[in-house]
């Protein structure tokens, strides 16, 4: 293979799993194939828990894959490589160092001469538009300026690959847009010393706006659902019909039912016993989304991109709510749409008591854990049970943390439905209402 055709980055059949306390393993990433070539921005798009950040950390050399290989310029990645730099979601600046010192840190680690460190750091600061802020401390800067320092710090080491972990998601909409545009300008003018970019994001529009290729991630375990090429010329316009079409297409991909349903995937759907991890979605959000879909102009069927922008929800927020409704059989997600089922519509139009009755019926029918809690309470003479009893059961299936979260989700829904009561102070479930 000649050098010209060697990809910057090549990941093949990457798998990542963490050991669980009971000896089994928790699979977070499987069958991951990725290739980054010179001049490309590749986007990893998915919701939290889809393993996209894990993959980025594997590329950065911050963790090791359980199987498969990651190669940077033909060499296996073993620990952080000199030619790969990262920009973090929370900026990860050292608060006790000035802007200049933060930027210079990566060069100090390389033991460069003082003069060179100074020249290169100042050049990077200049390039990214931080001139005049050299001696400021991060706390004195706004979020946008802080992330600029994050960019300068990554660029100063002249990396071949720039990794970006949701770099704009901690910023307000306006600032994020400015930073994105500035970045794309520098990129298209070739003024940055980088050859390729891997961008992790959960924002569909951001991915379409910035990337040449988008890998859409699915969860449980994380894997690539599909790959899309974006051939729209830069600068791209969000209102351009072909832009909208691509966004719509990605929504469809993300709501597609798996072809041959893999066992892991099914965990999000009902009927699998009490061992599934439940999402943290409040009853208010569930009711809110049902109301919004039931109301005009949607009247029971809503286009996801449309309702996402109407409600100002990112996919990271919208999808868990939609999927919970699907799990409770109040709605169906398919083809980029959310459609309310009969009981979903009934719920949206009912008064509070009726809503609770409908919710209780669905909760006890379609959430096995809720049914289980209720059954235990019904069967016992005392009509009460310790929380630890259920936690122990759940931990056979999932991690301690997930067990706790899952039980909390059930408590939340059970309280709303008045299916059972829970006293946090004594960690007791019961059927009684507080006196």
């Amino acid at each position: 293979m000649d050098m010209e055709n060697l990809p910057l980055l090549q990941c093949s059949e990457v798998r990542k799993a963490f050991p669980k306390p009971d000896g089994a393993e928790l699979l977070v990433l499987e069958g991951m194939n990725l290739e980054l070539r010179e001049g490309q921005i590749v986007g990893l798009l998915g919701r939290s828990g889809s393993g996209k950040s894990t993959l980025l950390r594997l590329i950065a050399g911050l963790a090791e894959p359980s199987a498969g290989s990651l190669n940077y310029m033909g060499k296996r990645i073993m620990g952080p490589a000199p030619g790969i730099a990262m920009v973090f979601q929370s900026f990860a600046l050292f608060p006790w160092l000035t802007v200049f010192e933060n930027v210079a840190l990566g060069l100090e680690a390389q033991r460069m001469s003082r003069a060179e460190i100074r020249t290169r750091s100042l050049a990077a600061i200049d390039l990214i538009g931080l001139d005049g802020f050299e001696s400021a401390y991060p706390r004195e800067l706004s979020g946008g300026m802080r992330q600029r320092v994050g960019f300068a710090r990554a660029l100063v080491v002249h990396p071949n690959i720039l990794l970006m972990d949701e770099p704009f998601s901690a910023l307000d909409v306006l600032t994020a847009e400015t930073l994105r545009t500035d970045f794309l300008d520098l990129w298209s003018e070739g003024r940055m010393p980088i050859k390729g970019v891997v961008l992790v994001t959960h924002n569909i529009e951001e991915a379409v706006l910035m990337c040449d290729r988008i890998l859409v991630f699915g969860s449980n375990p994380g894997r690539i659902l599909s790959e899309l090429k974006v051939t729209l010329p830069q600068p791209r316009n969000r209102l351009d019909p072909s832009f909208r079409e691509l966004v719509e297409k990605i929504y469809v991909e993300m709501t597609a039912r798996p072809a041959g349903a893999t066992p892991g995937r099914q965990e999000r759907f009902p009927g699998l016993g009490i061992g599934s991890v439940l999402p943290q979605v409040s009853s208010n959000l569930l009711a809110g989304l049902m109301e919004a879909v039931a109301a005009a102009p949607f009247n029971g069927v809503a286009d996801l991109p449309k309702i996402a922008s109407d409600l100002q929800m990112e996919i990271d927020e919208l999808f868990p709510v939609g999927e919970t409704l699907q799990m409770l059989r109040f709605a169906v997600l398919e083809g980029g749409d959310i459609t309310l089922m009969e009981d979903g519509l009934a719920f949206a139009h009912a008064d509070l008591d009726e809503r609770k009755r409908i919710f209780m019926r669905h909760l006890l029918t379609y959430v096995p854990l809720a049914a289980h809690v209720r059954r235990v309470l019904d069967e016992r003479a005392s009509h009460s049970a310790r929380k630890s009893r259920f936690i122990d059961e759940l931990e056979d299936f999932m991690s301690e943390e997930d067990a706790d979260r899952t039980l909390r989700a059930v408590v939340r829904w059970g309280r709303y439905a008045e299916a059972f009561a829970y006293d946090d102070e004594n960690a007791m479930f019961s059927l009684e209402n507080p006196t």
Binding site: A60, M78, G79, S90, A92, P95, A109, L122, R153, E425
Partner: protein, 573 residues
């Protein structure tokens, strides 16, 4: 960008801050030289130049005392940076090191001073150095555990993204330690240093004049001065000593801790907006002075230079969770621990069990119970007094601004300096020592309750107070539903510190002398103090062991659960 021009402080004339800084620095050097000169003198010289109660000598004594304090602080810092780092970095070592630290925190080292004196004297026989070491060691023990704990906790809570950033920019472990871990841990460390100061002053005063069996060593210092004043029944001299100590603590606070606290503010990762930035004139002086700026640049360069010098080893990264356990090493480690356990147990059995009759053990247990009763009653009394006052002050920002530093100052003041006055009263009016000596135990530690409650009350959100007022929640109902719950987590923190300090203080508070008359309360503290004076090794160990056991058990079954309960239920986030 003048940071990279090495001789920046030669440019232009020195600023007035330079002059000030120069004087302070030279003063410090002279002070260090003066005070350390006596270290290598033979012990006999202490007898030849006996202490004098003439107040003229007090500045010198105060300087000696302060020097011990600084030395203890420095040692604690060295200990912290090594021990805590080891505990945090090595999972295996941490399993043992952290519980050890936890127990050490509860051991009343004050009772051990006599033993350590013998040990250190044998290291430097016939020299003052040995006794000095013992005193410095006592200070060390009053601060090191706290500081190490705080640093350990900081190391464990470094935000994951900062660690990842350091890793992905390939900082060497040495560089990471100085550029990430130490700066991140500094704010908590400095705060803990300041908090454990009171213990430090308390100990230095108590440890300067030590009599073990027949030998009495009196190191020149404020503590010895007080001891002499007590023996001479000189109330005026005690007044002078108290005044001197007030000034010393004020200077220490202004010259060392204020600047430190103001300086470490920049190391805080999370900044709540609207929080007032701590101010310090001394820090302003240091910042403005080019001389001192150059010194800090030099330190920074040293860190960078050593970073270059220490070779970087590129080890492949393996997740902690996946690291293959090396069985043989594990086995070795476990067997080492078991061995240490067996040896310790054997020693404990040999010293304690064989020489202790059941009757004596029961007696010590009973005494410990008495002391415990005292501590709880006193904490309860102090709470009844200080919680309402603290809440009242805390809700009035202007009053809080005024009272808070005073409370902190009172906490730092070594209460044992005030004991002679109380003892004088007890002896003169023939009061019952079982009752009237007790308040001394809490004299110095009650302030922790006050300033923690003030801090808690000042954090009650204004809207919550408005809501209470709006619904006309007043009087006892207000205290039950608003005031007390809101400050409870803070109060418990303060009460834990106060309780621990009081146990320690019992050793010097339950027995007191004034000239040739001695008053004594029944309790474990008096028992330990008695054993120390008699040089009775096995009784000292028995007493201290029992006290440690009581403190540890009370912490585990009372304070800790209470703390977690308060944290969970009442902490406002």
């Amino acid at each position: 960008m003048n940071r990279f021009e090495p001789y920046v402080f030669l440019r232009g004339l020195a600023s007035r801050w330079d002059v000030l800084a120069f004087i302070v620095v030279i003063g410090l050097i002279v002070f260090l030289g003066e005070t350390s000169r006596g270290l290598f003198a033979p012990l006999g010289q202490l007898q030849q130049t006996p202490l004098s109660l003439n107040p003229v000598h007090l500045p010198e004594y105060a300087a000696r005392t302060t020097f011990r304090m600084l030395a203890g602080l420095f040692l604690s810092l060295v200990f912290t940076l090594t021990y805590a780092t080891w505990a945090a970095k090595s999972e295996r070592a941490g399993k043992l090191l952290v519980p050890i630290l936890d127990i050490l925190q509860s051991v009343p080292i004050l009772g051990f001073i006599s033993i350590t004196v013998v040990f250190f004297m044998s290291l430097a026989p016939g020299r003052v150095l040995g006794a000095e070491f013992a005193a410095i060691f006592a200070i060390f023990t009053s601060q090191a555990w706290n500081m190490a704990f705080s640093f350990y906790q900081s190391l464990r809570t470094i935000p994951i993204e900062l660690t990842e950033a350091a890793e992905s920019f390939r900082l060497s472990p040495w560089m990471r330690f100085w550029q990430l871990e130490v700066p991140f841990g500094l704010p908590a460390l400095i705060w803990n240093m300041m908090m454990s100061m009171s213990g430090g002053w308390f100990f230095v005063v108590a440890s300067e004049s030590i009599s073990v069996g027949h030998t009495t060593v009196a190191l020149p210092g404020v503590g010895s001065y007080i001891a002499l004043a007590i023996a001479d029944k000189n109330l005026g001299a005690i007044g002078w000593a108290i005044a001197t100590m007030l000034i010393v603590i004020l200077l220490y606070d202004q010259l060392l801790f204020r600047p430190l606290v103001a300086w470490v503010d920049r190391f805080r990762v999370e900044q709540e907006p609207g929080v007032r930035v701590p101010q310090s004139w001394a820090l302003t002086m240091m910042r403005r002075s080019r001389l001192i700026q150059a010194a800090t640049v030099a330190f920074h360069s040293a860190v960078l230079w050593t970073s270059r010098a220490v070779k970087r080893v590129d080890a492949p990264i393996v997740d902690v969770a996946e690291r293959p356990r090396r069985r043989s090493l594990d086995l070795l480690w476990v067997s080492l621990i078991v061995l240490a356990l067996v040896v310790s147990l054997w020693h404990i059995v040999a010293v304690l069990i064989r020489q202790t009759s059941v009757g004596e053990a029961l007696q010590v247990g009973g005494l410990a119970f008495l002391t415990m009763l005292r501590v709880f009653v006193l904490i309860a009394l102090a709470s009844v007094v200080w919680v309402p006052i603290g809440v009242w002050v805390g809700m009035r920002p202007r009053a809080a601004q005024f009272v808070q530093p005073i409370a902190q100052f009172m906490a730092a003041f070594p209460a044992n300096l005030l004991f002679p006055i109380a003892v004088y009263g007890i002896v003169t009016w023939k009061l019952n020592p079982d009752i009237f000596l007790s308040p001394l135990m809490i004299l110095g530690t009650q302030w922790y309750i006050l300033f923690n409650v003030i801090a808690g009350a000042s954090m009650i959100p204004a809207e919550m107070r408005y809501a209470a007022a709006n619904f006309r929640v007043t009087g006892w109902l207000w205290w039950r539903k608003v005031g007390i719950p809101a400050v409870l987590p803070f109060y418990v923190t303060g009460a834990i510190t106060a309780s621990g300090g009081s146990w320690n203080a019992a050793i010097v508070a339950e027995i007191a002398t004034w000239g040739d008359s001695q008053v004594q309360a029944k309790g474990l503290g008096a028992y330990i103090a008695d054993a120390t004076t008699a040089g009775d090794f096995h009784r000292i160990v028995l007493g201290i062991g029992t006290m440690s056991l009581f403190v540890v058990v009370i912490n585990r079954i009372f304070w800790r659960p209470l703390y977690y309960y308060a944290e969970r239920k009442y902490r406002m986030t």
